[in-house]
């Protein structure tokens, strides 16, 4: 059964369009005017705890470290990072929901929290059960091949080659049930009329090694995570899943240019606080995290991760719009895919 993309997303175009392409020219720009803010009632008078639902070495661990450093540099308030990996972010989210809602506990999470709620509404909704302080990384996905690949060199030749393999071609990604990767791959394969075997690697190193070593034919990933392989000339992007060509990938076609008419799902990482936290503390945290995004150290980090290629910043309102749009989009797609949406 093919998805009716135009019907599926026509009602979402306005909201999602805002979320996706607010303005590429605003990437990295600081949008918080106040350089300082008084601590409400002395809050915080001790270190904050940031629960991170993934390990310290991965993308979430790194953005948590960079944001914590920036907030501390800006405010002088220390942040202890508490990594609780496992269950695709479930363990960390559960631990956070059980922590006191006093403003001293904040959460880092990625778009998996939104897709998890879309699939099972008993899971916390990041836009309603939490308050987004800031989304500080928004990025798109690409499909990569080895730079020295000779069987195909660009997207059209890749599609042609995959079609000729009758389902034997392989692509490495994180294809867990309902994941952003699996949903986008479903869009792509149906729109391109090709079958490709998705190999799920939950850790980056084996995933990238699989492409480097020729164990798989292609890789689905976000550019910041494979930057070193791009800089070293090991990998070559052949398709960008985004509505327009980002400047640094101006020679790589977008999915729309290749005839695939679907709204791209984005990977985003952000910081949250409990819905029930005292409002004046929430306001201070919003300022601290949104302003910390402007700090040189954080901007340097985002630059190093290709995270300023498109607009990576969403304040609380922008983050809520983005999350709500993503939840609606995921939920509709899950129903179309026949998943048990609760």
């Amino acid at each position: 059964m093919k998805l009716n993309f135009k019907k599926q997303f026509s009602t979402l175009a306005l909201v999602t369009g805002f979320a996706v392409s607010a303005s590429m020219s605003m990437a990295g720009e600081c949008r918080v005017a106040e350089a300082s803010m008084d601590k409400p009632g002395g809050f915080p008078d001790r270190a904050l705890t940031m629960i991170v639902p993934y390990g310290p070495g991965g993308g979430s661990g790194q953005v948590a470290a960079a944001m914590a450093e920036a907030v501390t540099g800006l405010t002088g308030v220390s942040i202890n990072r508490d990594h609780k990996p496992g269950g695709s972010g479930t363990v960390g989210m559960t631990a956070y929901m059980a922590a006191p809602a006093d403003g001293y506990n904040v959460l880092e999470h990625i778009d998996d929290a939104s897709s998890a709620h879309a699939l099972d509404s008993s899971r916390p909704n990041p836009a309603e059960d939490l308050i987004p302080l800031v989304v500080s990384q928004v990025t798109f996905s690409q499909i990569y091949i080895r730079s020295n690949e000779t069987r195909y060199t660009d997207w059209p030749s890749f599609v042609e080659w995959v079609q000729a393999q009758n389902g034997k071609a392989t692509i490495a990604n994180v294809s867990k049930e309902g994941s952003m990767e699996r949903v986008i791959m479903k869009f792509i394969t149906e729109a391109s009329d090709m079958q490709i075997q998705q190999i799920s690697f939950d850790k980056g190193a084996p995933r990238y090694g699989a492409l480097l070593g020729g164990q798989v034919d292609a890789l689905f990933e976000q550019p910041g995570d494979v930057r070193k392989f791009l800089d070293a000339g090991n990998f070559k992007p052949i398709l960008t899943v985004f509505n327009e060509r980002p400047g640094v990938f101006s020679d790589v076609p977008t999915h729309r240019e290749m005839g695939m008419d679907f709204e791209p799902l984005l990977r985003f990482r952000g910081f949250y606080v409990h819905k029930g936290a005292p409002s004046e503390r929430v306001d201070w945290l919003k300022w601290a995290f949104q302003r910390a995004y402007c700090e040189d150290s954080y901007q340097a980090f985002n630059d190093s991760k290709f995270m300023n290629v498109i607009d990576s910043y969403r304040d609380t309102a922008g983050a809520i719009d983005m999350i709500n749009a993503a939840i609606v989009q995921y939920r509709d797609v899950y129903k179309e895919m026949g998943l048990d949406v609760k």
Binding site: G57, M93, A205, G209
Partner: protein, 496 residues
Amino acid sequence: MIENFLAGTATLFGDPFTIGIFVFGVLGGMLFGAIPGVSMLTLAAILLPFTADLSPAQGVMLFAVIYCTGTYGGAITAILFNIPGAPENAPTAFDGYPMTQKGMAGKAVGAAVLCSAIGGVASALVMMSATEPLAQWAIMNIGPPEIFALVFFGLAVASSVGGRTIWKGWLSVLLGLLIATIGQDPVGGINRFNFGYSDLAAGIAFVPAILGFFAVSEIFIQAEKNVSGKYLAPKFNVDFPSFFELWAHKIAVVRSILVGFFCGILPGIGATLAAFMGYGEAVRWSKNKAEFGTGKLEGVISSETANNAATGAAMIPLLALGLPGGALTAMMVAVFQMHDLEPGPLVFYNSPELIWIVFAAMFYANLSILFVGLIETKTILYLLKIPFQFLAPMILMLASIGAYISRGLVLDVIVMFIAGIIGFLLRRSGYSIPGIVLGLILGKIGEQNFAQGMQMVHYDLGTYFSRPICTILIVAGVLTLLKSLHSAFFQKPKVT
């Protein structure tokens, strides 16, 4: 190579501050490696922000040194108290702790110190001489089907370790494999056996399970003996193994270096699989398999040589390709990135001096294990003189902290005590705790790679046999299984 190594050595020891960082890494790695739960990863996570103030070479060197000495550190508590400091030290406890009970703690610890140093130094030398070609060979030839075949090969021998009969050994391994299936499946992310409890979605963590099966069950057993008046304190002994005792195990050392190195070079695998495979191969090639798990020096030698041999090997895919082999090497990537560097092929051309300082530091860190370890051992063995009624609560408290602190979940403390009770009951009935732990750890790795491999070969199991390495390992594993079955039908039960 020699010139580069000497230049790296000169830079390393030419600056007092760099020497200070090196010494801090050596001692810190040993200390944090020895405390259960508070592993070398904890120390690395604490130090990560501070590396921004160091030079790139100092930062990466510090982490490399911690990696070497931290991998060794957990062996001491595994041998003396049946508390492995980390999963990669668990096989060391299989025979190390029984040796302590027999009054051979000095020999076990001495062998662990020496073999950790030998494994680490050998690994560092190979790393220095052939990083790039080895990394290329590994990623071109080893994929999920080969890793699954390797795990299958390792599991095939697991029934021989520690059980009263081979059947009980197999049931123990199968229980471990069953426990490994708790949590999300490794491919689809579907929850299994979590009974709606979200913390179980991540499965049973290795650290609390190992602490429960080893340390807590041991406390219960010793407490029972204490109450019934049968308790015998471990004999205090600081005699190190003689040169001839160690020389008699030279083949085991070489075999474990090869096994450890092979496992370490695989991206995402690392020292834990190396230690279990090193131990398993010692059992496979032994004429006296039944002696393993009862206090055999070769068990300690094989495990500790293999896990340290994995440290240098794990640096190969990291430095040559930018692919970290485990959690600590993944953190090293962050250290590189904090200094606007990326590990991978370009770092050899852009920062050769950094690479050779790291290589030299790892070489000397492994040598330091020998000297610092021997001094440390002479003092730490006196802990065995503490009476059981004081030692047992201390171990339980330490184990509880270790179980909790790794993820900050009360669930992990509960899991530890449940594992302790199960371990206590199963050990009384002659089942194998090493078998359960082997099944748990190898099961998780094996299932993930089997599922990925099946996707890769389009669910055609026969395609596994079109891959030579895979074929050899699976055939060897099947032969081992058949031999084990033959023994099970015709052997007489052990008298214990």
